[in-house]
């Protein structure tokens, strides 16, 4: 490119103007962009575009508000410095209650104009949108699409300018009203403003008060945060994700513990034997005994299974006998099953002392006439691991609580919208 060499021209700052009403000095920071400027002393809105300095409006002294970002302060946002040159208070009324927020007009002579909005300690960094969002429906409600993001409609309201200070590149009117719609996709918000037939879309990013304070290098604390703002990012989704992640990790560990435990505490078989009982002619078969088995440590709740392979096999009564003392220990019948191919009884023992034991089988009185073959098994069942499952349920509590909190946050977020359940 072989353009002419150009010495950059320097644009001089605009000279302060004198308020035609009170004679006060009104500083101008927006160069030739400024169309209206407000006299800080008498709140006259002055037309700064013509030398006559016509007064366009005057704000009521009673409405005077104090900007928390002083006019003329500069702050950096993404490496670009911006100067606060305008301040306005906007108010919307709902059910007889006034809700007011601050809007700070930021200016950079190259990058242009931006806004910072402040409501209940919540801030948004706002710029005009270059594109026009497209409407859609999301979950049965109005929504707007910009880029790849879908923003859900939050509210429709009318905002009235109730106080201004500083200067603006547009004509400020006292009591100017705009209708606006907010669409949210936290931490972003889209706003559509309609005034005098003109439609303006802007996009805002939620920004923490401390970050605003840092950007402007201000001392002290930013205004206290109150409640939840429409596009405030929820702290919970991340927490919920982390807690569910932790839960999954712990669940895997517990599963490992469970498996290990099962390996250690596997059941053991003490006896497996087939016993035949053959009645003599017309005489009941006597009680039969299985072979003996050794119990080395004290055992409780051994399972004794008696299985007949023929469904006609006579019913039996089983008990345990201590071979060394011949003492009989009754068994509790816990399960009975009948199939076409036979039947099955399962007994459970009480506590057994170490020693040599056998199973005693006695035919029921009225079943004595037929022979029968029985499979007898004595075993220790693997220990139940119910407590591990209980521990897992305990581990579920934190992620579930956080999930509920997250949903509570969303309900509160939407409670002040047009779709809120309450007022």
């Amino acid at each position: 490119m072989s353009g002419p060499v150009v010495e950059p021209a320097v644009v001089k700052g605009a000279k302060p103007i004198t308020c035609p009403n009170c004679g006060g000095t009104v500083e101008l920071r927006g160069f030739a962009h400024t169309r209206t400027a407000v006299c800080i002393q008498c709140l006259s809105v002055i037309d700064a575009t013509s030398p006559e300095l016509q007064i366009l409006a005057r704000f009521d002294e009673q409405m005077r508000a104090r900007p928390v970002l002083p006019l003329g302060t500069r702050g950096k946002f993404g490496e670009v410095p911006y100067e606060v040159i305008g301040f306005q208070v906007r108010t919307t009324w709902s059910d007889g209650l006034a809700y007011s927020w601050h809007e700070y007009l930021l200016f950079n002579p190259y990058a242009g104009f931006r806004y910072l909005t402040l409501y209940n300690g919540h801030w948004n960094f706002v710029r005009a949108l270059a594109g026009v969002p497209r409407y859609t429906i999301e979950a049965g409600r109005k929504a707007a699409v910009s880029g790849t993001v879908t923003y859900r409609h939050y509210q429709h309201a009318t905002a009235t300018t109730t106080f201004v200070m500083g200067e603006f590149p547009w004509a400020v009117q006292a009591g100017e009203q705009v209708e606006f719609d907010d669409f949210i996709a936290p931490p972003r918000v889209l706003s559509r403003e309609v005034s005098a037939g003109e439609i303006n879309w802007s996009g805002g990013d939620y920004i923490a008060g401390v970050d605003v304070w840092k950007a402007f290098g201000l001392a002290g604390e930013p205004p206290r945060v109150d409640g939840i703002s429409p596009n405030q990012p929820s702290p919970y989704p991340q927490k919920v994700r982390h807690l569910w992640g932790d839960f999954l990790k712990l669940a895997v560990v517990w599963l490992g513990v469970l498996l290990l435990f099962n390996v250690i505490s596997t059941g053991r078989q003490f006896l497996s034997e087939t016993v035949r009982m053959t009645p003599a002619e017309g005489v009941a078969a006597p009680a039969a005994f299985t072979g003996s088995f050794d119990v080395k440590d004290t055992e409780s709740a051994l399972t004794v299974e008696v299985k007949a392979t023929d469904s006609d096999a006579p019913a039996l009564q089983a008990s345990l006998v201590d071979r060394s003392t011949s003492r009989t220990v009754p068994l509790g019948l816990v399960e009975q099953g009948q199939k076409s191919s036979g039947w099955r009884d399962e007994y459970r023992s009480g506590k057994l002392a170490p020693g040599t034991w056998a199973v005693r089988l006695e035919p029921e009185v009225n079943e004595e006439k037929r022979p029968g073959a029985y499979e007898i098994k004595v075993r220790r069942e693997a220990k139940g691991a119910g407590w591990v499952w209980f521990a897992l349920i305990l581990l579920l509590i934190p992620p579930i609580v956080a999930t509920l909190q997250a949903s509570g946050f969303e309900s509160r977020r939407w409670s002040e919208s047009d779709y809120g359940g309450g007022s």
Binding site: P109, A130, G131
Partner: protein, 211 residues
């Protein structure tokens, strides 16, 4: 880019064209408005000084659009009810030209699309109407009645006889930008894109006192 030298028909000073296809320019010495007819230069009037503005752009500012370098060679200034804006005439290395609009420090680069303007009655235009240009859907956002304030530098057409004119601005969802210019009986279409200041990579911009 050729720099053709010629003489001002008003004062005889040497005139250099930064853009070879320029149709109108102003003599930097005697402020004559000069219109070029092939090889002849005609003096058609005298430029008035443009009222001061606060655009960072000036004649000679260089920048980039879609990785192509451009040079600002001229501008037209328009005024409307709520202020004014500049249409900077930009010339690219390859001899093509375009426009860099600067309205309250929002920037859009656009290019003339000859014979693509729809045959619409400007009185029938309403905000919200949708038009399709080159496979994109544009929504009409603003109708602006503007007045021609003045020009400087080199332009691809003559501004003689310009007064009030209607512009229809249209936008897509993704910041593409269209203007229907009703300055002439046949509307003219410009297509382009709005982009943030830093993407233009401007050099030789004006400086601002205190910044």
């Amino acid at each position: 880019m050729t720099q053709r030298a010629a003489e001002c028909p008003g004062c005889g000073a040497p005139l250099r064209f930064a853009w070879s296809s320029a149709v109108q320019t102003a003599c930097p010495y005697c402020h004559a408005i000069i219109v070029r007819h092939d090889l002849d230069l005609e003096r058609v009037g005298e430029v008035a000084d443009l009222p001061p503005d606060a655009s960072p752009i000036q004649i000679g500012t260089e920048g980039q659009f879609d990785s192509k370098g451009f040079l600002v060679v001229g501008r037209i200034r328009y005024a409307w009810a709520q202020g004014n804006w500049n249409e900077w005439h930009i010339a690219f290395n390859d001899g093509t030209n375009g426009w860099l609009a600067d309205a309250q420090l929002t920037y859009a680069v656009s290019f003339l699309r000859p014979n693509e303007a729809p045959a619409v009655d400007p009185n029938a235009l309403r905000a919200g109407q949708v038009f399709n240009f080159e496979n994109r859907s544009y929504v009409l956002t603003t109708l602006t009645t503007a007045s021609y304030v003045g020009f400087e530098g080199e332009l691809p057409f003559t501004t003689a006889g310009r007064q009030d004119m209607l512009f229809a601005d249209l936008r897509t969802e993704d910041a593409h930008f269209a203007t229907l210019d009703f300055s002439d009986p046949q509307p003219v279409l410009y297509l382009g894109r709005e982009l943030p200041y830093e993407e233009l990579k401007l050099k030789n911009v004006r400086l601002f006192e205190g910044w």
